[in-house]
């Protein structure tokens, strides 16, 4: 019985993992493949993509035609349960609420966490991204290099399936042969962007997303991942075989009932459960890491949400992968005589250096794309092409230190509740038959540019425990402080200017205007949902919370495998790196278990 009620999880385990998303899922997979016995605690409910995913449902089958509400901020069919920027009964507080100074925290309470709904963008950090301070004197270096992470990027790509291409571009690493799946064919809007973008010196190449454009080569991949472990090879191959390739319809954000994209629930957890080595307790809200007399982690305390009872679970090693801020919150709330400022906080750095991604968007309308012959453009639901950062040599003249990539969208996707809206700038207020003709004409002619850039960690963006507020379980909540620097706001302004240039080069018109004031263009903290940091890894115990193995300096059997240990937040969306890092850390944990160091 892999899914346990809380009273059954009385055994002692090798490793206890808090969280079941990208970090927790990868950690559980890697550990169980090599025989470790693992208990996973998930704060949300059990979730089964095969039964619960609204594949092919259309907007008129949903309340409010699928439009977002506070309960489902990015749309009714989004694979988010008990989540969003507000979770009922689980508040957090902010020292500022204005757009420039607030941080909004997205959470979800479900097995697999945010991997069920994410955009599936899977980029590798490049060599520069691990040593940013060495390059420009800002932020922090990682205590590891790209070469340390590269083999794990290869492994993750082979396991989860990522499409893309190797282009040999600066700080945009190629994968080893056989790692990437072929990218989907570009849409006509992608090709137009590529053609006009290249004329402006902007590279437009195949996107990298965790979607199976063809079935995984289960035989080869499993053998490469576990050459000397027949059991792991078999479990991995069996799990890969069950995943279907993309059928080029229905958005990835709803999750995928046939396993054609990466979700922890369809990729990491099934083989881990099949190993018989993983037990999962859902609806287990962890709030504290417990210690033994020697000051080592003995397990965790949690609220069993089904009964309201407080319980404890034990293991030889504790891994927090509850999401960057939730893991930090658990540590800050783990106060004791020995650790009065929270556990693993002797540096005083716990909660510090929170980062999100710099985001700014612009929409254009392109006459060349009007009235095209109808054809199916659903594809892989976006991201067939993208632009990696291309101005590494020009940061001095740009006035900001780090780069961004461009996520591009266009095409004749399924009409939604916003189709035919906000058209006055094109239609001058038409209604009646003329309006219908115009909506038909413009459908499919809009292009969407999203800049996703690097934020440099700063002293004014952090979280701490709010002494005055508790959630419905009685657990003290986080209070967020947030501030952008000019490196971020100038970057956002550069995005706007660049997007307007590309739209112009495509013969199009900008909707609204390109915002020249970066402080107004930049999306509020937390809105891109790429938050990392808060328990950064580093070279010494004074300036960081963990060492290079994401092992806390203060408690040697306590690890973090979510985004919390990231000392920087490259423009590369963090999920792939969370997984690669979790695999790397898990290998280290396995080695210690084998050496009986714990």
């Amino acid at each position: 019985m892999p899914f346990l009620s809380s009273d059954k999880a009385t055994d002692t385990y090798d490793v206890l993992i808090v969280g079941s998303g990208a970090g927790g899922g990868q950690t559980a997979y890697t550990l169980t493949m090599d025989g470790a016995r693992v208990l996973m605690l998930e704060a949300g409910r059990n979730y089964d993509p095969a039964r619960e995913t609204p594949m092919f449902q259309t907007p008129e089958q949903a309340p409010l035609r699928e439009d977002g509400t506070p309960a489902t901020p990015v749309g009714f069919y989004d694979a988010t349960i008990d989540g969003g920027w507000k979770v009922p009964g689980e508040p957090y507080t902010q020292t500022r609420t204005d757009d420039a100074g607030r941080f909004d925290w997205w959470r979800t309470r479900m097995l697999g966490g945010r991997t069920n709904h994410w955009g599936r963008y899977s980029f590798r950090n490049g060599p520069y991204d691990f040593k940013p301070r060495t390059r420009d004197g800002l932020g922090f270096d990682w205590p590891i290099s790209y070469d340390d992470m590269a083999p794990y990027y290869d492994k993750v790509e082979m396991l989860i399936g990522v499409y893309g291409s190797n282009e040999g571009l600066e700080n945009t690493p190629d994968s080893s042969p056989g790692c990437l799946l072929p990218p989907p064919k570009p849409l006509v809007s992608d090709l137009l962007f590529a053609d006009r973008g290249r004329k402006l010196g902007i590279p437009v190449v195949a996107g990298h997303r965790a979607v199976l454009t063809q079935p995984l080569d289960w035989k080869t991949n499993a053998a490469k991942l576990y050459p000397n472990n027949a059991t792991a090879q078999q479990l991995t191959a069996d799990s890969m075989k069950k995943r279907a390739a993309c059928i080029w319809a229905t958005p990835c954000g709803r999750g995928c009932s046939i396993g054609a994209n990466y979700q922890s629930t369809t990729v990491h957890l099934p083989p881990a459960l099949a190993s018989g080595k993983l037990d999962i307790v859902t609806e287990a809200m962890v709030y504290e890491v417990t210690l033994d007399k020697a000051g080592r982690a003995s397990g965790v305390s949690y609220v069993d949400k089904k009964t309201g009872k407080h319980r404890q679970a034990k293991a030889r090693i504790v891994v927090l992968a509850a999401s960057s801020c939730e893991s930090v919150r658990i540590l800050l709330n783990s106060k004791s005589a020995k650790f009065p400022q929270g556990l693993a906080n002797s540096s005083g750095k716990l909660g510090k250096y929170l980062m999100d991604t710099v985001g700014a968007d612009l929409v254009g309308q392109v006459p060349l794309l009007e009235d095209l012959p109808p054809h199916n453009e659903d594809g892989a639901s976006g991201g067939h092409v993208y632009s990696p950062w291309w101005l590494y040599k020009e940061h001095k003249s740009l006035g900001f230190a780090r780069g961004y990539h461009i996520e591009f969208g266009g095409g004749r996707g399924m009409p939604g509740v916003d189709t035919g809206t906000h058209m006055e700038w094109l239609t001058h207020g038409s209604y009646g038959k003329k309006f219908k003709d115009e909506v038909r004409r413009y459908f499919g002619s809009f292009v969407y540019f999203s800049g996703r850039g690097e934020m440099i960690p700063n002293e004014n963006s952090y979280c701490e425990i709010d002494p005055n507020t508790k959630d419905k379980f009685g657990i003290p909540v986080l209070r967020f402080h947030w501030q952008w620097s000019e490196h971020e706001t100038r970057q956002a302004a550069h995005m706007q200017k660049t997007f307007a240039q590309v739209i112009d080069a495509m013969g199009g018109r900008v909707r609204g205007k390109a915002e020249a004031d970066g402080a107004k263009a930049i999306a509020p903290g937390g809105s891109i949902i790429h938050e990392v940091g808060g328990a950064i890894m580093g070279a010494d115990a004074k300036s960081s919370v963990t060492n290079a193995w994401c092992q806390t300096w203060d408690v040697d059997n306590l690890f973090l495998t979510d985004g919390a240990p990231f000392p920087s937040n490259a423009d590369k969306n963090p999920t792939l790196t969370i997984m690669a890092n979790a695999w790397r850390v898990s290998d280290h944990i396995l080695a210690r278990l084998r050496r009986k160091e714990v």
Binding site: P63, W248, A249, T421
Partner: protein, 213 residues
């Protein structure tokens, strides 16, 4: 699972009957902009694979008169033509009623805008044409005369600015409701949301039209 099996299975799943169009309607008792009760929304964990219809999750609240105004105005914005039926023919009035009756903050704001707008239309009908007819009862040309003054906010005269704001929002809601129906999707010649064995990208004629072939 191979792709062929997947697609077969998906096609059978996709043909399951969608919402049947049966509406729970209880509108006569409710009359005004303030909802007498606070209905609950669908919570933070709704069942996503179910089909929902207006009136199922919270009561609809348009009065008969409001429904008539909604129908008249929606069909002025989206009339039937050779490509597709009118807005009200495909259930847009029911969608609008669901929208303005919803318990969420944004929809509550729209409720005020829409119901105030309806009241203005009736008042303007009387003021302009000196009859006791409501907006819905006016001749088409008379309705259009009013709409022509409020259909484009940037050029609306000062006395019509509020009404133009209402019209812009109402047109957006009508369009959103219309283009999310099977008939609306067909009108736009959207042909996706079906499983495919492979993705071929744009046909040659498309590339030629854009000058990329």
């Amino acid at each position: 699972m191979d792709r062929r099996t997947t697609i077969k299975w998906m096609l059978s799943a996709a043909t399951l009957a969608p919402w049947s169009g049966v509406l729970a309607r209880d509108t006569e008792a409710r009359t005004n902009a303030v909802l007498s009760t606070t209905p609950q929304g669908y919570g933070s964990d709704p069942k996503l694979i179910d089909s929902y219809h207006p009136g199922q999750l919270w009561p609809l609240t348009f009065t008969a008169a409001q429904r008539a105004t909604a129908k008249a105005l929606s069909d002025l914005i989206i009339p039937a033509d050779e490509n597709s039926p009118s807005a009200s023919d495909v259930g847009v009035v029911d969608f609008l009623d669901e929208w303005v009756s919803a318990p969420y903050e944004r929809q509550r704001r729209d409720r005020t805008i829409v119901l105030d707008g309806f009241a203005w239309l009736d008042k303007e009908a009387v003021a302009r044409f000196g009859t006791k007819k409501t907006f819905a009862q006016l001749e088409g040309a008379q309705q259009s005369a009013i709409c022509n003054d409020v259909c484009y906010l940037p050029e609306a005269k000062p006395q019509f600015v509020d009404a133009a704001r209402f019209f812009a929002r109402y047109r957006d809601l009508t369009a959103g409701g219309f283009y999310t129906t099977p008939q609306g999707r067909k009108d736009l010649r959207y042909i996706g949301n079906v499983p495919l064995p492979r993705f071929d990208g744009p046909p040659l004629e498309v590339l030629k039209k854009v000058g990329l072939a």
